[in-house]
């Protein structure tokens, strides 16, 4: 593993300046050490993919980044996650505030079933108590839906149930919901794995459009997806006692053409996993 400092060429000028860094991170489920000794630095405004076989701790690592791991009973984290230099696991740091700064999209679309499309988008904003900036709720709703490439499809049915949309649309609605609170980082845990190929393409296009404005970290089983969408890739693997470790972390182009580690090459070329 190594720190990645160089800037991706061609990134938009308004790229997010938020720097996310992981230092000596261990994640536990009870006494079981699920992820061990991870050190990473996520490039602001870039898309970083975490790949690896099932059970290697990719999702666990992702959930550690916005303190969602600790929501699981008996789960805890050691080490540091630094957001602009502040350790998110320091005493006194509000986890709910952390989760507003670091948004998350899950594997399966999970719009709130009792809410309309518009209310779904605004759920996080209402939770926060006040809209970010001077924008009205309607403006935030439209802006978020446009960013999520969903506005044209739902603008005439904003007051229909969020669950009335197709699976792909629901996932983009969940992305719009995450974007509405104006997060600095967006975590995506296999966001397209439950979707059909057309919806998957739309999610990938959306990620590319959001690149630069947000630091995006995506967990994926799909290596083609990682190669297509991400600027950086981290490869994780479970070792002894099913403990996941970060084997290699580099630019996606290097990872998929000249990986340093034999295990990375074996995984990418399909020799295991």
């Amino acid at each position: 593993m190594q720190a990645i400092q160089e800037t991706q060429p061609g990134r938009p000028a308004d790229a997010s300046a938020t720097r996310l860094e992981v230092k000596d991170l261990n994640a536990y489920y009870g006494k079981h050490l699920a992820v061990k000794g991870v050190n990473m630095q996520f490039e602001p405004g870039a898309i970083t993919a975490l790949i690896g076989p099932s059970g290697c701790g990719k999702s666990t690592l992702l959930r550690c980044l916005n303190r969602m791991h600790e929501v699981i009973p008996h789960a805890h984290v050691e080490g540091e996650v630094l957001l602009d230099g502040q350790n998110l696991y320091e005493p006194g740091v509000d986890p709910t505030d952390t989760r507003r700064r670091i948004g998350m999209v899950f594997q399966r679309p999970n719009p709130f079933p009792t809410m309309t499309i518009m209310d779904n988008v605004l759920a996080g904003v209402r939770l926060a108590g006040k809209p970010p900036g001077d924008a009205t709720l309607e403006e935030i709703s439209e802006k978020s839906l446009r960013r999520a490439a969903l506005w044209d499809e739902v603008k005439d049915k904003l007051h229909k149930a969020g669950t009335s949309l197709s699976g792909g649309q629901q996932q983009r609605l969940c992305i719009a919901r995450a974007l509405a609170v104006d997060p600095e980082v967006l975590l995506m845990d296999e966001p397209a794995s439950a979707l059909d190929p057309i919806s998957t393409v739309k999610i990938e296009e959306l990620m590319r459009e959001l690149r630069g404005a947000y630091t995006i970290i995506i967990v994926t089983h799909n290596m083609q997806q990682a190669a297509r969408c991400s600027d950086y890739t981290g490869f994780m693997l479970a070792g002894e006692a099913a403990t996941g470790e970060l084997v290699e972390f580099d630019t996606t182009s290097k990872m998929f053409t000249t990986p340093k580690e034999k295990r990375t090459e074996d995984y990418i070329t399909g020799r295991f996993g």
Binding site: P73, M104, F106, N110, P111, P113, A123, T163
Partner: protein, 282 residues
């Protein structure tokens, strides 16, 4: 050809082996015969006496017992519902009340497993020790307590039904655990809570033994006084089976009680079906 073979194989796999199929069929048959026999007996004996039980001047009439049933249900249901729903909200997320929630889940299992008659008898003894006479109001209170574990368990099921994804999404947006339970899980559970309420009402209407004991109908040395001139219908059926009114009138009263419970359960099922259809539409 290959597809046909796979299809044929798939079809053959769906046919159950003969022995288990025969066993399951026999059990289903026993159940059907039992239900048909009981209902048939009720209809056969009860229907000819139906005129009697609907005659308000007949001592075997069901009008007063029905009013007493409604009285007990109206008194017993709200406390059971309020305590049940609030206890379930506390138990729905261990992050809200921590060890209290865990303790509550364990207590729920423990209390729910105590036979209702024992709870009722304990309530009767407690009432008598305070110098209270057995009454319908006391019975309603005890029946309410008896049904609290059921209401809590049903409410907990309603609150946590497929809730993991929604809970996760709300938490990831920065919601507190309390907000998740009160503002997201509770509104989402309303249709199932309505169904739970009807099911608990059904239990109260049919909770014969417990009401009988707590109302004092079977208490040693006391008959109690029925303020409405009758005990609830379930108690009447239980206590008057061999009384002067005769089997026929009792069977008719039992038929009325059974139909009443079927109506309540039918309403609950209709609501559940409507909710399922609405969810599919969404």
């Amino acid at each position: 050809m290959a597809i046909d073979a796979i299809a044929a194989k798939g079809t053959s796999q769906r046919v159950a082996p003969p022995l288990p199929a025969a066993l399951f069929g026999a059990c289903a048959g026993v159940l059907c015969v039992s239900v048909v026999a009981i209902v048939g007996w009720l209809i056969l004996i009860g229907v000819p006496n139906a005129v009697r039980v609907f005659n308000p001047h007949d001592p075997a009439g069901v009008l007063a017992p029905l009013i007493a049933t409604a009285y007990v249900t109206i008194l017993a249901l709200p406390p059971a519902a309020i305590v049940g729903v609030f206890a379930a909200m506390a138990a729905a997320d261990v992050r809200v009340f921590g060890s209290v929630a865990r303790a509550m889940r364990n207590a729920l299992t423990l209390v729910g497993s105590v036979p209702t008659v024992i709870v009722a008898f304990a309530a009767l003894l407690a009432a008598l020790s305070f110098g209270w006479h057995p009454s319908l109001t006391g019975a309603a209170l005890a029946v309410s307590i008896i049904n609290m574990p059921l209401m809590t368990a049903l409410s907990l099921g309603a609150l946590t039904y497929r809730a993991a994804a929604i809970r996760e999404a709300t938490t990831a947006l920065g919601a507190s655990p309390m907000y998740v339970v009160v503002r997201v899980l509770l509104p989402r559970a309303y249709p199932r809570l309505r169904g739970a309420l009807i099911l608990v009402a059904t239990q109260i209407v049919g909770a014969a033994a417990a009401i009988a004991i707590v109302a004092g109908a079977q208490a040693p040395g006391g008959h109690g006084s029925a303020p409405i001139g009758a005990w609830p219908l379930a108690v009447e059926v239980l206590t008057r089976g061999s009384a002067a009114s005769g089997y026929g009138a009792t069977a008719a009263a039992a038929l009325v009680l059974t139909i009443l419970i079927w109506v309540l359960q039918g309403v609950a099922q209709l609501r559940a079906s409507a909710e399922s259809a609405a969810q599919e539409d969404r």
